[in-house]
C-alpha cells in the first residue's frame, strides 16, 4: 500500500492578506516532510469559487512548487475538470507536460467533471453534458501526449493538425485516474483502463464489492491510453497522535469541520435535477459516510484518526479489501496547528508506514 497527501487548500475566514499564503506555505512544508518520510504522492484538486472549503484553482502551480522542494514524491495533477468551459484539452496536455518535465517525470493525472452548481454555473457550463465532455477529453489526452502531430474533431472541441509541445517526460505518458464519487464511476474508469481515484470512504464491505467489480471489468477494458492503470486509491483523514483519545478528538474535529465547510456549497443535485448527477457528489457523501448520523461504527473505524495502532488496523482493513493507495487530508482550515500536523505525519511515518509495503529509503 502506498500513501499520499490530498489537498483542497481550505482557508478560514477572516481572509487576511497573509492567510492564503500561510495555507500554501504550510502545505508545502507538509509535502516536503512527506517526501522525506517516504510518502508516495501528493494530490491537489482543481476547485473554483468554493469559499473557505478550497482555494485551489491552479493545482499545477502548487504542484510545481511541490516538485521544486521535493525529490521523489509524485505529484497528482487533479482533479482536472474535463469540461471545456473550465479547461481546454490542449492546455491540459501542455500544462501536464510542463509539470512532468519540471518534476522529472513524477506526474499523475486525475480527471473529473465537477460536482457543484457553484462551480459549473460559475463557468456557465451545462451539468447535463459534463460526463460526455469528460469522456471525450480522457480519450484525447493520451494521444495528444504520444502523437507526433495531432488533430481532432469532436462534440466539445476540435483542432487542426498540430504538434503539441512540450512532450511529457514520462514514456509513454503519465498514469491517468478518474475521480470517483458516484457509485458506478469506478466502472467508467475500469472500462477505459484508468485508475480509480476514490474520493469517498464508503463502508468496507461496499468498497470491497466495488473494487472487485472494478478489477474484473478492467481486465476486459479497452484502454484510452498506452497502458492500463489498474489501481484503486481512496481518500481519508489522517491525524496520528500517541494519545489515542486526543488523536481521535482532534481528528474528528478536523473531519467534522471539513464536512461542515463542504456542505455550505451547492451540489449540482441540490439545484439542478439531472441524471448526469445521480448522487450528491463528494461533499455530502463525505459528511454522511464519515461523520453523519447514519455513519456506522464500521465507517468510523475506517478513518485514520487516533493512535498508530488504530490507524494501522484501519489501513490493513483497507488493504484487505483491495485498496492500493490512500491519500490523506491532514488539516482543514488550519484548525490544527502546523507543528501538530507535522508531528502527526512524523509519527505516522515512524509507527505506521513500516507496517506496509510503501516506498522505503
Amino acid at each position: 500500500m502506498k500513501f499520499g497527501l490530498f489537498y483542497e487548500l481550505s482557508v478560514p475566514r477572516p481572509w487576511t492578506r497573509e492567510s492564503e499564503r500561510t495555507v500554501y506555505d504550510n502545505a508545502l512544508e507538509q509535502v516536503k516532510l512527506a517526501d522525506e518520510l517516504g510518502f508516495d504522492q501528493v494530490w491537489a484538486v482543481e476547485h473554483h469559487f468554493l469559499e473557505e472549503y478550497s482555494h485551489c484553482p491552479a493545482p499545477e502551480l502548487f504542484l510545481t512548487a511541490c516538485a521544486m522542494v521535493t525529490k521523489r514524491i509524485r505529484v497528482g495533477f487533479g482533479i482536472v475538470v474535463c469540461v471545456p468551459q473550465f479547461n481546454h484539452p490542449i492546455k491540459i496536455a501542455e500544462r501536464t507536460a510542463v509539470l512532468d518535465i519540471l518534476s522529472g517525470g513524477r506526474v499523475e493525472v486525475g480527471t473529473g467533471r465537477s460536482a457543484t452548481w457553484t462551480e459549473l454555473a460559475g463557468f456557465n457550463a451545462d451539468p447535463d453534458s459534463t460526463k460526455k465532455s469528460w469522456d471525450e477529453f480522457v480519450r484525447c489526452l493520451p494521444k495528444m501526449w504520444t502523437s507526433d502531430k495531432y488533430e481532432f474533431e469532436g462534440e466539445f472541441w476540435s483542432m487542426p493538425r498540430r504538434t503539441i509541445l512540450p512532450r511529457v517526460y514520462q514514456r509513454p505518458h503519465p498514469p491517468m485516474w478518474v475521480a470517483v464519487t458516484s457509485p458506478g464511476t469506478e466502472l467508467d474508469a475500469a472500462d477505459r483502463g484508468l485508475g480509480s481515484l476514490g474520493l469517498t470512504f464508503g463502508q468496507f464491505a461496499e468498497q470491497e464489492t466495488r473494487i472487485a467489480e472494478y478489477r474484473r471489468r478492467i481486465q476486459l477494458c479497452e484502454p484510452v491510453g498506452e497502458f492500463v492503470n489498474d489501481q484503486v486509491s481512496t481518500v481519508n483523514f489522517l491525524y496520528c497522535h500517541e494519545d489515542e483519545a486526543a488523536g481521535l478528538k482532534t481528528g474528528r474535529r478536523m473531519a467534522d469541520y471539513f464536512n461542515y465547510l463542504a456542505t455550505q456549497l451547492i451540489s449540482v443535485r441540490e439545484t439542478y435535477p439531472s441524471k448526469s448527477y445521480p448522487s450528491l457528489g463528494l461533499l455530502p457523501q463525505l459528511r454522511r459516510q464519515a461523520t453523519g448520523p447514519d455513519s456506522g461504527e464500521q465507517a468510523g473505524e475506517g478513518l485514520c484518526l487516533g493512535g498508530p495502532e488504530r490507524i494501522t488496523r484501519a489501513l490493513k482493513r483497507w488493504e484487505s479489501v483491495g485498496v492500493d493507495r490512500v491519500n490523506f487530508l491532514v488539516n482543514t482550515a488550519e484548525m490544527i496547528p502546523q507543528t501538530e500536523v507535522l508531528a502527526s505525519l512524523r509519527l505516522f511515518g515512524r509507527e505506521v508506514m513500516p507496517a506496509f509495503n510503501g516506498r522505503k529509503d
Binding site: P12, R13, Y260, T263, T271, Y272, S274
Partner: protein
C-alpha cells in the same frame, strides 16, 4: 467559519405566526402538484436570514408552488418564497413569505407549521410548452413563474429541500423544520422563468434575482408532517436544535 445570517429577530417578531403547539398532526396529501423555480440572487440577503443559519454559496432562492388537491381543510394552493440556506450541515429553505388560496389553509398553515402565509390567489396552468403559476394579491400580480420546455426526468433525480419557518412557539421565536416526504409519480425539468416578482410582497425587499438555475414540475404524494425539530434562531443549530420527537 462560514458566514451566518444577520436577521434582527426583534424587528420581525411582532408579525411572526403563532404556533398553537408542537403536537401538529401530519396531513397526508396524495397527488400534489409542485412547481419549483430556483434562481440565484444578488448578495445582501443575509439580513433576511436568522443568525442560526448559513447562506448558501452562492445565495439563491426557490419559488415553490404546490397544489394540494385534498386536505383536512379542503383543496388549496400554496406559494412560497424560500431563501436557501444551511442549518449546520443540512440544506434548508427558510420561508420568507407565502400565499395560500383559502382562509382555512392560511389559518392552519400559520398555527400548525408556522408559515408566514397570507391569503391570495394562486393559479396553476399547464401549457404545451410550459407549466406556469401566477400569484395575485390585492389586485396585483406578485409572482409569475414558469417551467419552460419541460422534459420528463426520473422522479429520483428530484431533490426537494426541507423548509424551515420562523414562528412564535410558547412565546419565543423558534425555527420550525417542515420536512415532508415525497413519492414522485411524474417529474419534468425545464428552464426557469420569472416574469414578475414583487419582492416586497414576499417580505423580501432585499432579494434581487440574478441568474436562473433550474425549474421543475412534479406530481407526487406528500404530506405536511409532524414537527420533529425546532431551533433557536439566534444561535448556531449545532447547539440550538431541540428534537420534538
Amino acid at each position: 467559519m462560514p458566514l451566518f445570517g444577520e436577521l434582527e429577530i426583534d424587528a420581525v417578531a411582532p408579525a411572526l405566526p403563532q404556533l398553537r403547539d408542537l403536537d401538529t398532526e401530519a396531513w397526508e396529501i396524495p397527488k400534489a402538484e409542485i412547481v419549483q423555480v430556483a434562481y440565484e440572487v444578488a448578495d445582501g440577503t443575509r439580513t433576511l436570514l436568522p443568525r442560526a443559519l448559513h447562506p448558501a454559496i452562492p445565495e439563491y432562492v426557490t419559488f415553490v408552488v404546490t397544489r394540494y388537491p385534498e386536505s383536512p381543510v379542503g383543496p388549496f394552493d400554496l406559494a412560497q418564497l424560500r431563501l436557501m440556506a444551511r442549518a449546520g450541515v443540512h440544506p434548508r429553505g427558510y420561508v420568507l413569505g407565502a400565499v395560500a388560496s383559502t382562509d382555512a389553509a392560511v389559518a392552519a398553515l400559520r398555527e400548525r407549521w408556522g408559515y408566514p402565509v397570507v391569503r391570495g390567489e394562486v393559479a396553476f396552468r399547464r401549457y404545451h410548452d410550459r407549466v406556469a403559476s401566477t400569484v395575485r394579491r390585492g389586485g396585483e400580480t406578485i409572482l409569475d413563474i414558469a417551467v419552460v420546455d419541460p422534459e420528463v426526468i426520473a422522479g429520483g433525480d428530484l431533490q426537494y429541500i426541507h423548509a424551515v419557518t420562523l414562528a412564535r412557539v410558547d412565546g419565543a421565536a423558534q425555527l420550525v423544520q417542515v420536512d415532508p416526504h415525497y413519492t414522485v409519480h411524474r417529474a419534468a425539468r425545464g428552464r426557469a422563468q420569472v416574469g414578475r416578482f414583487a419582492a416586497a410582497a414576499w417580505n423580501a425587499a432585499a432579494v434581487r434575482l440574478t441568474t436562473p438555475i433550474s425549474a421543475s414540475a412534479s406530481t407526487c404524494d406528500t404530506d405536511l408532517p409532524r414537527i420533529r425539530f425546532v431551533m433557536d434562531p439566534q444561535i448556531p443549530v449545532v447547539s440550538g436544535t431541540k428534537k420534538v420527537r
